[in-house]
Symmetry: C2
């Protein structure tokens, strides 16, 4: 029999997170406040707790994972790695394809890797309540789960149209004890203003962020929690890539190519950053971020200071951006519909250390179905982007006859996305044309700095 799964015991779980800032050729560019000066920790403390702010600014290479966090992570970690024997055979490729599977978390994706430490540090800092926003619900359910583990109240502002159309993620959050509101609500200034202008406002992610941040800023016992983009979120996710290195070492492998899908960047950071430490030391390994063609932040965005949210409330971050008010087409990989990207990852792309590629929507679902029929697991639409790129690389190996080792992160399962697969089979999905004019318009609204 061929070995399929490569497992780690709990005792082999990483004890430290890897901070890529320590190995970057240039120090990370700081976020800027409205005055054009770097944001101070004090300014951040209105919505984040002290330990999180420290991690956001940390320079040291290794940051210890508290035992109380590792204990909760054993709920699903270490996560399994699989050798995709059947997919390799179906492709007829000499490449060896390995995938790390993060869909085993109770929330079904990699997101709880950061939700758990965020909840823990807030609890330790005396915070009683966390607020966050959610669109499709991946992050909202992850922070609901994590809050429950440490006895924190969690309030989730869920975009009203998703709240109404996607009740299942909401039920998950409620099962884990969170309070979920359809945003806009009438109990924040931001929500009231939106409802006054239009009582039938369907909500938006920007508006939900405004509500969550307002509640956190105006209640001393409440903090805000974010599921991607920021440095501390990327940091927490590096447990993925570290486990992957150990697992590959168990079968005497090291990847030639590491692939992750990329929206705000935390999933890609999680699987790829730990390999960057080796790359910095001279090892040859390609790190490949994959994004939707219709929201091509890394491949066609500008590298500039921009707001992290769509309404201009956050500090300015130096990153690849399509313009903070760019509204991507309604593709089904909701987690990848973000105008910007992690500043750390953006800088690594800018410096040529990480490469980025776009994939059109239909190709991602074709890859997802091919993967499911070979490997069994039905990938989330976001993860289908990584699958699609892995197949492209494996097919290139078939052409060239090279037996490269490919690793990708299967960031989540598609159990809550079957309606998208349904539309794919019914021929109702499309490849959106590159939204040239919308991006041009949004980029013309980039904020002036200094």
């Amino acid at each position: 029999m061929q070995q399929t799964k490569i497992l780690l015991e709990e005792s082999e779980m990483p004890t430290h997170w890897y901070n890529v800032a320590a190995d970057m050729p240039n120090p990370p560019a700081p976020p800027l406040g409205p005055d054009g000066n770097p944001v101070t920790p004090d300014a951040m403390s209105a919505i984040f707790c002290e330990p999180i702010i420290q991690q956001e600014m940390a320079q040291e290479r290794w940051i210890e994972i508290p035992d109380e966090v590792r204990q909760v992570l054993t709920m699903w970690r270490p996560s399994p790695m699989f050798r995709a024997h059947r997919l390799e055979k179906a492709l007829g490729t000499p490449a060896k394809i390995f995938y790390k599977y993060e869909g085993v978390s109770p929330a079904g994706s990699h997101k709880p890797n950061s939700a758990v430490p965020q909840a823990y540090y807030n609890k330790m800092a005396g915070v009683k309540k966390l607020t966050t926003e959610t669109g499709a619900g991946q992050w909202g359910s992850s922070i609901s789960l994590a809050g429950q583990m440490y006895g924190l109240d969690v309030t989730v502002y869920m975009v009203k149209v998703s709240y109404q159309q996607k009740p299942f993620r909401r039920s998950m959050m409620e099962t884990w004890g969170a309070k979920v509101y359809a945003s806009p609500t009438d109990h924040t200034q931001a929500g009231k203003a939106a409802l006054a202008a239009d009582p039938n406002n369907p909500g938006s992610l920007g508006l939900a962020i405004s509500e969550a941040v307002e509640v956190a800023a105006s209640n001393p016992d409440t903090c805000y929690s974010l599921g991607s983009v920021l440095n501390h979120v990327c940091l927490h996710q590096t447990i993925i890539g570290q486990e992957a290195k150990k697992q590959l070492a168990k079968v005497d492998e090291y990847p030639d190519i590491v692939i992750g899908c990329c929206g705000g960047g935390s999933n890609f950071a999680g699987v790829a950053f730990p390999f960057l430490a080796d790359k910095a030391a001279g090892k040859e390994v390609r790190l490949v971020a994959v994004e939707p063609d219709s929201c091509p932040t890394l491949t066609r965005g500008h590298y500039a200071y921009d707001f992290g949210d769509s309404v201009g409330m956050t500090p300015l971050m130096l990153m690849y951006t399509l313009g903070h008010d760019f509204m991507p087409p309604s593709i089904h990989a909701g987690g990848l519909r973000y105008h910007g990207d992690s500043p750390l990852l953006s800088q690594l792309v800018k410096e040529g250390i990480v490469e980025a590629h776009g994939i059109p929507q239909l190709a991602t679902f074709e890859a997802g179905v091919q993967f499911a029929r070979a490997e069994g697991i039905i990938p989330a639409p976001e993860s289908c982007h990584a699958v699609a790129r892995a197949i492209i690389e494996a097919n290139a190996c078939k052409e060239s006859g090279e037996a490269k080792t490919i690793l990708f992160n299967l960031s989540g399962h598609g159990h809550f996305d079957m309606a998208s697969y349904d539309k794919f089979f019914a021929g109702e999905l499309e490849n959106y044309a590159y939204p040239e004019q919308a991006i041009k318009d949004a980029l013309s609204h980039l904020p002036k700095v200094g």
Copy 2:
């Protein structure tokens, strides 16, 4: 740190299935044909392939699992076992609670444990196509996945009302390449007759079985596949309990109580039968089957010969039954709404070797939510029955001060059942009164034997 997960390497996966017939005090009662005589293998061959019929009748204690089956099972097996530290703490019990988790299969439940070998044996026997029926879709998706692995065409007759109201399981089956029809269809005699009588017939499981069996019986290259009740299905599931024994042995434990939810019986058989081998050898261990109060087959049914299906097409089986035309209330644990039970399991209950208990619907969801908030995983409504009983046993330990070891099988996750949790939170679920008159009526229709 406390150990949470107990893992097995692929090399530790069981090599044989355990056949409980070898350890039963009395030989299993044979199924009877319309003439009152035991059904011959020849009669079965109209819809089942030779190796499956052999396994259905097998007497030997151990039956080897083919390597080609074990290879596909590595897709998710060995499945993890968890120690429920947080649940124990929440209950304040001295009991040690362990659970085996079968929700890691790509279909999300234990069902593929039998779907994979069934597809394999049919492929080996030269069968080209499998037919089956499905209600909510657990079995239909499992056989779709398994058929895809061995290159078999799979046709699923899905009860029309489920087909329309629960499109996500259907999308799963299609993702794995199966053809799914809303039953009744116009391409079987059974379907045509039903549609002629009522063009808006919403379908039923009995009707879907009729269609699937008719297609299998009338096409020489097609066989029928069933997901529970029969001996060979229970046999295939015993890999669960065998793994569980190995995992408990790794932490020097042996269960005092083994708990499984019970509809047709294959899940319970899977986790519990391997422990029966030890019980037969004098070991003390309680084997506890849990069923819904509203469909109380083992706890309030008659032990009698009855049809396996609702319309009277199958051979007669000696089992606990509520009457083949008993229609259980619409509880949300769809997989437990069956009028009968596995003849092997029924005989073991009759002989006092296995005990059975009922649980009302609301208590199962309360247990499921308590479990999710402690352990993270959201259980399927079926699995909530086992969780509820485990909590009852753990609370009894709290009363008595005994530190018993409790093992239960968490047969599947609830990702496709969040609408049921939603109704539970909204107060829209109820505890059905014991359907006394309906069962009395159905029992009065038991077939005469001989």
